[in-house]
Structure formats: structure tokens, C-alpha cells
Symmetry: C2
Subunit: 333 residues, 2 copies
Amino acid sequence: MDPRRLIIDGLQYSNWSRRIFEQMRAGGVDCVHVTIVYWETTLETLNNIATWNRLFAQHDDLIMPVHDAEDVIRARESNRTGIVFGFQNCSPIDNNVGLIDIFHQLGVRFMQLTYNNQSPLATGCYESADSGVTRFGKQAIKEMNRVGMVVDMSHSSERSTLEAIEISHRPIAITHANPTSFTPAIRNKSDTVLRALGESGGMLGFSAYPFHLKDGPNCALDDFCGMIARTADLMGIDNIGLGTDLCQDQPSSVLNWMRSGRWSVEADYGEGSADNSDWPLQPEWFQDNRDFHRVWDGLSDAGFDAAEIEKIMGANWYNFFKKSFAAMAQDRD
Amino acid sequence: MDPRRLIIDGLQYSNWSRRIFEQMRAGGVDCVHVTIVYWETTLETLNNIATWNRLFAQHDDLIMPVHDAEDVIRARESNRTGIVFGFQNCSPIDNNVGLIDIFHQLGVRFMQLTYNNQSPLATGCYESADSGVTRFGKQAIKEMNRVGMVVDMSHSSERSTLEAIEISHRPIAITHANPTSFTPAIRNKSDTVLRALGESGGMLGFSAYPFHLKDGPNCALDDFCGMIARTADLMGIDNIGLGTDLCQDQPSSVLNWMRSGRWSVEADYGEGSADNSDWPLQPEWFQDNRDFHRVWDGLSDAGFDAAEIEKIMGANWYNFFKKSFAAMAQDRD
């Protein structure tokens, strides 16, 4: 199967509807890693999966679940968008390493060890002290490696991310972030992290979320693509893709949930502020899933050749899925 | 694939260990439907599945999970015993029809609508009033039909069972019980139920649990096999199998859990009594999984020919699995 000309997005979290699924088809998007958890408990997560199962049944002409890389090809060949589940936090695991396998069985293929805050597994990027990967974190990474669930450090801190890269026997991902050198957002990543990520065979997905962009919503497409070109030099052309972080049609209540969950009495504004507390505007060149072709053209203008663009737009994620989603041969305990 | 000479047991609930798995292999048992729930909550059920996942990893030379009929053949060809998960109660579903699909994804292929008591779905066999299948019960059966989870009425009441047979679009099962005509245990089933079950293409698994046997632990093998012969005449030779209800190496605390769960302050003795409250002794001809060959011989002595014995010992369950475990084509809502 020729994975060329695939479009795979490394992360979205939208208010899913038939309209959005139709936009995915209009944009030729073959696969999207979708967030199904920020702060949800185990039971709430089961409900979120049940809701997705209903979406799959109701819109089976437009979407289908992706459990392995070949499912991406099946989706493409049936003119549908494949959906990969991911957690942005470890809350569904609830101190129980056995639930990692359970959620893998239910289709979850990515899990962030932490979302902004300290978790039982690692330190989030908003904490002032970074203690690295914890005792449970090491066990969780081992189990994630065993079952085929990708360690995602998008919202984690520097030391924790470097340690996760080191501890994990399988390459990890930063599904949605940009280099700090592009714009110094707390969520963006240092060259040290990105170099280690690339050297380990991991993946970075470039974010189009305005808080991660130079000039925010006014970021120019050629600036975005220039950043990609510099990162390709840093990490290698095989270790980068897109992770747009597109959050479409979401009310501000969802933004509050993402930022503050149930952990804060006071409002936490995350990447925003008290006087800039709502969703940011999208850059004009990436309004929704129909705009991937613009990025394609932007990469061409930035000097990438066709084979390189195909890698960035989807083939790299496809190859990463191939080596990441299956269980490793089991050791007898 | 030739399913002849298969041995499939329609229900066991033992204190699982490598010793028991080795006995399964010694007995040539190709597949067992194992109970993983009596009164467990959703979260406790996830833990039970996680425990089984660990058993699969630790004993992968002896056992493997069965999600469809072909897995039984894979188990047989790799000299292992296939394990099918089942619930004896609907407690893990917790009034949430969406969890049926979730648990099907995790390998659950049988669910009793009720265990002895009234449930939100149907009436148990120990209730004095039998109100039949409930509103939620009808929705649950529809969803079980859709995803491929078998309705099991082993511990349900007469009216509820007859209604479940009628309501379900796919054949149901009574995985472990005997005819009331054999011995009038509350758990055994009337000829009316058994005839309707057979006519609908459903399956009865014959129980070797002493409370379901004439003369209890002293039941003779030829009496057991004579009962099977009479039931074959009533239900048809294609609708019967074994469901030994073997509960091996279990402490009496587990019997208390099965009988009283967390629903009774007073002890409930189920099929026993205050002065006969412990596990019954097994009949001498069925001590553990190594004894299936004795049943085989007993069926031969009772006059069954080789093809009929093969059906009863496993081929009927295999054919039932083939038509029961897969999802039906999805309707668009």
C-alpha cells in the first residue's frame, strides 16, 4: 500500500458533528487523532468512547475507527476519515496500570502523561518545579510500550519530556506543539527536546493553535512553513508532521473545562489571560479541515519537494502509527 | 475448518490458576465461557478484565482470549484453551446501554439479564413475582443483538426467559441449567422454556453443579446422560451442549459473594441452606476439566452416536458462537 499523499492530523479536539466530518472529507483528510479526555474519570471516559461509538454508527459513510495503520488505508480507500483516540491526560488510568491495556483494547492509541499540571506520572509544562517521570510514570511507560499506546508529551515539562524520551523503549510523540524558537509559548518545545525527540525516532506535530504561533492569529503561512523548514533541519524530515490542535465549534465552557477541569476553584486561563479568556481566532489560512491544501502549497513555496511534503502532511504519521500501535511480543512474567 | 471433536464448556467460574489451565489442557478443553462478574460495578469489572489480561500474558502457552468462533479454532490449533468472557449479571452496565458495546469491545460475549434477583432488565428466578423483561431490558436486548453479545437467561425467571426468547432477534442461551423434569431446582427450566428455546435456535448448556442434579453430588453419570437424551428429544440435537458450572478451588467467601453480593444484610443461602451453606461436592464423574472424556463415554453409553456426541460436547456451541458473536450490520440512526 502506497502511503503517499496521505493527510493525517496529529491532533484535533472539535465539537464533533456531521458538518465537521463532511469538512474532513472535503479537505481530503485521511485520519485525525482526536482528543477524548482532558480531566475525565475512568467512567466518564467510557461514556466518551460510547458517544464516539454512536458517532461511528451514525456517520459510517464519513468516519471509521482507526486501531492500526492499515485502518488508515481502509479509511482512505472507502472515502472516509479514520479516527484515532487519544487522552490529553492520564486521569482515566486512575493509578491503575491495568487500565492502559483496557483502553488500548477500546482504541486509545495516544496518552499524554500530564496535561499542564503535575500528574502521578510526570510534570506538566505549567508547573514551576519539574521533577521528571515518576515511579508510576516509569511503570506506565513500560506498559504503554507493551500494549502499543504512544507516550505523548505535548503538555509536559522539559525534564519530564527528556526523561520520557529516554525511558520509553518505543519512540514517543509531541503531537501538537511548535519550537520555542518560533514563539516562546510555555507549551512550545526547546531545541534540546526536539533534537532528542528526532534522534529517538519520535514525532513532532506542528500546531496551528494561535497561542503556539508567532503573531498569534495573524501568523503568516510562510512564517509557519519557514518554521517547519528550520525544524526539519533540526529533527530530520522523517520526524515531523501536523498536529493542528484545531478546536472547532467549541463553546467557551469547553475551554474552561480544558484549562481548569475540576482542579481549581479560581479560573485558570492557561495560555490566555483574564482579559483574553476566550477561544483565539484561527489564522486565516487554517480555518477548518478544508484548508490542508493551503498548508500543502505553503510547504511547496517554502522549498520542500513533493516527497518531503507528502511526508510532512501524512506519510510520517502513517509510518509512526505502523511502528507504534501494535502490541509488542509479550514477555512471560 | 472442521469443528468436530471440539470440547467447549458453556460456563465455569473457578479460582483461576496455572494448575486449572493445565487441567484444561489435559482434558482437551478447547474453549470455556468464564464468568467474570456476579455483582461487580463497572470499575470492578474493568479490573477483572485487567486481571484476565494479565493471566493471558502470564499463561499464553495454555490460554488465549476468544472474541469470535474462529478464535476457538486458533486456540485448538495452538494447543491452548480459548476463554470467552461472560457476565452473570447486568451490574457492569449500570443503566447505560452504551456500555454494552464497550464491554463487547473488551471481549464480553454473554450477559445474563439478571442473577437470581430482579434487575433493571428482567426478573431473577428467586423472585416471587415475575414481571418479565423491562423497558430497559428491551433496549438492552436490542443493543446486545446489534453488537453480538448473547442474552443468557440461566438465572432468570420463567416469564422473563420466555419474553427474552421472543424479544431477541438473535437466539439466546441458557448457558448452565438442567430441565426441571430432571430435578425441581429453582434454577432449572421448564419444558415450556426449553421447547421455546430450542425452537428459536437457542442453546442450553447442561449443568454438573450438584444443586441442579438429581440426587445432588450422588447423581449417576447415566442419569445425567439420560437427562441429556430426553432433552435432545425435546429441544433438538443441535441446541444442547455442556455448561458445567464448574467452580473449582473457590473459598466459601466467593460463594457468599455470589449469593449475597452487597444486596443483603442477612446471609442468603441461594440453592443451599443455613445448615448446608458451603460448596457442594462435585459428582465423582466430574471432578475437574480432566473429566470431559467420562461425559463423552457416558453419552455413548446413553445411545448417542459419534456425530451427536460431538455436537453436544462442543460443535453446537461452536456453531452458536459463529452466529452470535459478530456485530450485525449497523443501521444508520
